[in-house]
Amino acid sequence: MSTATTLERPQAVETPQRRRKPAPVRTHAPLTPWLLMAPALLAAIVFVLFPFLNTIVLSFTDARPLLGGSFNGLQNYRDLLADPMFWIALRNCLIYVVGAVPPLVILPLLLAMLVRKAVPGIGAIRTAIYTPVIASVVVTGLIWTWLLDSRGLVNSMAGWLGIISSPIPFLTDEYLLLISSMIVTVWQGIAYYMVVYLAVLANVPQSLHEAAMMDGAGPVRRFLTVTLPAMRSTMLLIGIIASLAAFRIFSEIFVLSGGTGGPGGRSSSLVMLIRESGTGLSGRLGYSSAVSIVLFLLTLILMIVNLRMTYRKES
């Protein structure tokens, strides 16, 4: 019975405080969430919502820096529709989406399949592939400019090998400049999306591959029937992100064209048009705001279409 005695806690040790339930935290229910959200909410209002609304208002005015402006109805939108540069920039953005997005969705997946295998030195290879992602677009753009210039490495090598008799106008032809910019975009973005695919690939159950192998499926069939279905939602997500980024392309074209938008500005994008018309002490804030709103609506439509397609396929 001694055991029972030692296990028994003497009642005198128990204090009244220990028995009492802890006091409930006073949450001030209606205000607490707002208080917690306040810093982020304030930042969102000041830096996102207010500028967005301001852009909408300005798009209906003839505002200029310092001089202010007055409402001019839909004039900026009428000017925009009559501006050939707007249509050229819109065309270029669409070309960019069509040209750059498929490689940005497919190539990183293939690359991820290649580098996911644990072979000696794979860490160094992955790091090397990832390097362009951490480099500044401006720096990589300048490097590519030196490569693709009429006296650059690519033309010099091609000339030396006798493949070409005169330099290929990579940076002076409107379409070649766009294609060159897309190459830079894909080259720089490929490793970023590869990492996303690598993370998802790691979650594909190995048992599925083993079952497919048991059924006699080769590597291609396993890729099509096991890997691709598992990757579908990730591919759609990357497609959405890449197409939104492609629609708002700026740095690559700007750097490769030396800020001019190519011959006659015919390789300009919508963001370049916004920058060109809206900056400087004499900038047309109203017009550039109208282009911004149109760009916003176009990307919104693109996103809704993508999401609907995703939803439909998922269900």
Partner: protein, 434 residues
Amino acid sequence: MLTRRDLMTGGSLTGLLLLSGCGLQPTGGPTVASGPIGTDIELEGAIRFQTWNLRSAYLEYFEGLIDEFVAAHPGASVDWVDQPADGYADNLQVDASNLDLPDVMNLAPDLAWPLAQAGLLLDIADARPEVLDGYADGAIEDYSDPQAGTTFAYPWYLNTGPIFYNRALFEEAGLDPDDPPTTWDELFDLADAMGDAVDGRFYMIGQLPAIADFGMYGVQVLDDDQERFIFNDERAVRMVERYRQAYERKGLLPDSTVLTYTGGGERFQSGQVALSTGSAYDVANFKENAPDLYANLGITETLTDTGHANMFSQGIAVSSRTEHPEVAIAFAEFLTSQEKQMEFAHIVDVFPSTEGALEDPYFTEDDGSDTSEVRVVAAGQLDSARNYTPVVWTEEMRVELQRQVGDAVVGRITAQEALDASVAQANRLAGVSE
């Protein structure tokens, strides 16, 4: 039915929308009273003086200048701020929007114009009419609004570009290096000849024409009232067609359709282009960075069919909201005085804007030094030079002209179509009805 939350959301959005309309208000106008301002008093007060990317190279000059001013006026002080070259216009825009422009600031005509339009620069013609006679007329014009009869800055230093050419490339193309072009048509003829001779190994011309080039070709850029752009006449069309011909015969660098000015200069240094405009301080750059070019450098007067070279200027403006207008004016006049401008011209290879300063032997006699020949050639041009770039000419107009001319040069549109479109856009941007 509307809930309290709907009302609060709607109210907040409406409030934000109303607030966002605040951006439509013009920036505040002048606080300095109009009328003459005297500086023959004991000067007291602190002012802020802003330069444009000059501190790294000319720190000693400006510190000495400020010390000298403060020693003469012990009650005054000058806080010198130097802004980097990149984003200078953006910095000015932010300062102007915040009504916090420096009291005294270094501006080029195209930056000064919009600030003056917003009433943010002191009208020198009103405040100090007696001092304007001390500056060259051509320089004053750069900072004057003839319609309003105002002058919004003191002219500071001037520059003009002689023509540099590569004698070795001239010889290689079978051209006489001792007979460089003196008119635009001669340049185009030589460009065609060089293209025929070397078939694109190098080119005579490295960039498309700017608005000032049209002016020097004899094209009237603005109408007689200085309001409407009219640079789409027959002569302007002829100029663009000559560029197109040069492009087809490989006398014009194909990349020029996308190159910025800096790019064109780089091609000249690398030996891909045989002729380029420049300024007196380019010679030292060639000596250091392009020794082959420096060894074969030819220098001649600028190309002009009007007898007048093109001129660039920098000005010193006084804020119309300065709290110490007397100190700001006195400092601006001290900085742009003949004595101080001459001192600056001796260390920078620029030219003073004060009346008669170019008669100094420093600008008329070649002492045999590297830069002396360029300086004398350039100073000789300045006497009759004018600024062919109108003060109302904006960056967006420049881009549009380059775009249209680029299209015409590669044959996508005709020269007339290109110029008509440029003129229409320029007039639209300037707020002039068709």
